[in-house]
Subunit: 300 residues, 2 copies
């Protein structure tokens, strides 16, 4: 897929996802007002929509319809948004800025930011369990996918990774620990985003295994790329009260252990693994290829 | 049901619930360790298990089996526990003590306490969507009940009530606002606990309506009783860093607006409504009667 086409693809999918998110959030009647505003601000403050786009792109390979994929795609984005709002709180990373915009707690206060995160996490499960979703798909499949997303978001995934990351702060850690953190904190949700698309789309077990391997490699590549951007100061959008980025905070990152050059070649290696896993899907998997290249090549 | 019998009933159900909670938490392999310890501490620091007992008691009326009721009963307790851990954080109520014990963030730090709350909320949905649950019950029913619980925990319930409560702090509020807060912050989960038991147990729509009315009245009675205990200083177990209880913080409470005496008679009135709604269930509803009396009579 030529670069321009992929750019158009991303733009079209982002627009689809943004409209769906707007619609789902509005469902909560915009009450209580401040809570609604904080939820809306978090969801619409410049996210790249990587996770929901992955769900759509993986689902499309198997003929999955957008209207069936979107509730799950958007639930993943709500979960990602909640994790960012909580992560930025003074209790955790204490970041004042996110993507160049003020963090939620700097606008709405810590209390409302905390509650907006709680509300978005809860809303994700509320959204996936809507009667309309169960009517369109098999309830058993909906429950299985919801369970998988809960796993990826919970102690075995996102929250568990956050906890280990928090405890590793300021300590010397090895590559194994960094990968343990990455696989859970970032990898689990990215892997699940791809898997959920494939499952809702109707992938066979063999096809699902391929998509899963792609998702695992992509998750790791994504976090390494993000760490490289941090090391280069290109993620300067995330600035804490003390102006402390990951490096100053002695966060466990890939480049801080193996260096930037080795991190780049690891990311390239992971990209090649990604591409190999989805070879069999031919042209239908071009968006998945575009996403993997987009993630890795921004840091080369 | 004589007082002693009801006491035995509570004890037996609490033991059942505690064992199930222990089993479900252990499922997460106790890793990461600190996070697991914080989750375990929150769940086992003296909760009365009102919500899960309500689910069992309502379910038993219709012949619901404990093994089918317990995942939902325990999910409700996990959600209640998460809300308490987050509520006690400095960003919200800033309470150092809860039920006479140190609040989670005073032991594990604010970061881990925040994450333990997030993990418990996520685990609640992970638990309800387990394959074993869907195999035993109809997946459609499981999804409907999960959806109802997500609603009660979200912007239309618990979190929404918390947000309005936070914004009402220090302001003059009327009885309508206090009831708005109560219905969402406490009432929604109590109502849902009773309803979920009835639904899993197999109540007819008419029976479910009766249980719902009981649950609504009980939820309001519970919060009024809790406010009276606060006003009397009998909830002294909850003490903030500044030693500020609800009264000092100018929280919106029932007794602070209508006085303690009027609050007591309102609670009595609600108890009578509770009892009337479940009259038709005869002796089978004795535990629900016992729960309503237990809630209201402690403050008379």
């Amino acid at each position: 897929m030529p670069a321009l086409d992929f750019h158009d693809y991303l733009k079209a999918r982002r627009s689809l996802i943004d409209h769906a998110l707007e619609r789902y959030l509005r469902g909560s009647k915009k009450q209580p007002q401040t809570l609604y505003r904080a939820m809306h601000y978090g969801v619409f403050s410049g996210g790249k929509r990587l996770r929901p786009i992955l769900t759509l792109a993986a689902g499309e390979i198997f003929g999955g319809k957008h209207k069936y994929l979107l509730p799950f795609a958007c639930a993943l984005e709500l979960i990602h948004t909640y994790s960012i709002i909580h992560d930025d709180l003074p209790a955790l990373d204490n970041d004042d800025l996110r993507r160049g915009e003020l963090a939620s707690h700097k606008i709405f206060g810590e209390g409302i930011a905390l509650l907006a995160g709680d509300a978005l996490l809860t809303e994700a499960f509320h959204l996936m369990s809507r009667p309309q979703v169960a009517q369109a798909l098999k309830p058993k499949l909906v429950l299985e996918v919801l369970h998988e997303i809960a796993h990826a978001a919970g102690v075995g995934g996102l929250v568990g990774g956050q906890a280990v990351d928090l405890e590793a702060e300021g300590r010397e850690v090895d590559v194994a620990t960094v990968e343990y953190i990455h696989v859970r904190k970032t990898g689990a949700l990215i892997l699940t985003a791809a898997r959920v698309g494939a499952r809702i789309g109707g992938a066979t077990p063999k096809e699902l295994r391929k998509i899963s391997r792609y998702g695992e490699f992509l998750g790791l590549a994504f976090q390494i790329a993000d760490d490289i951007l941090d090391a280069k100061g290109h993620n300067g959008s995330r600035v804490g009260s003390g102006g402390a980025g990951d490096k100053e905070k002695k966060k466990a990152t890939y480049p801080s252990i193996v260096g930037v050059a080795a991190s780049k070649s690891r990311a390239q290696e992971l990209l090649q693994h990604c591409l190999k896993e989805i070879e069999l899907f031919g042209k239908d998997a071009d968006p998945l290829r575009g996403i993997a290249r987009y993630v890795v090549e921004q840091v080369q």
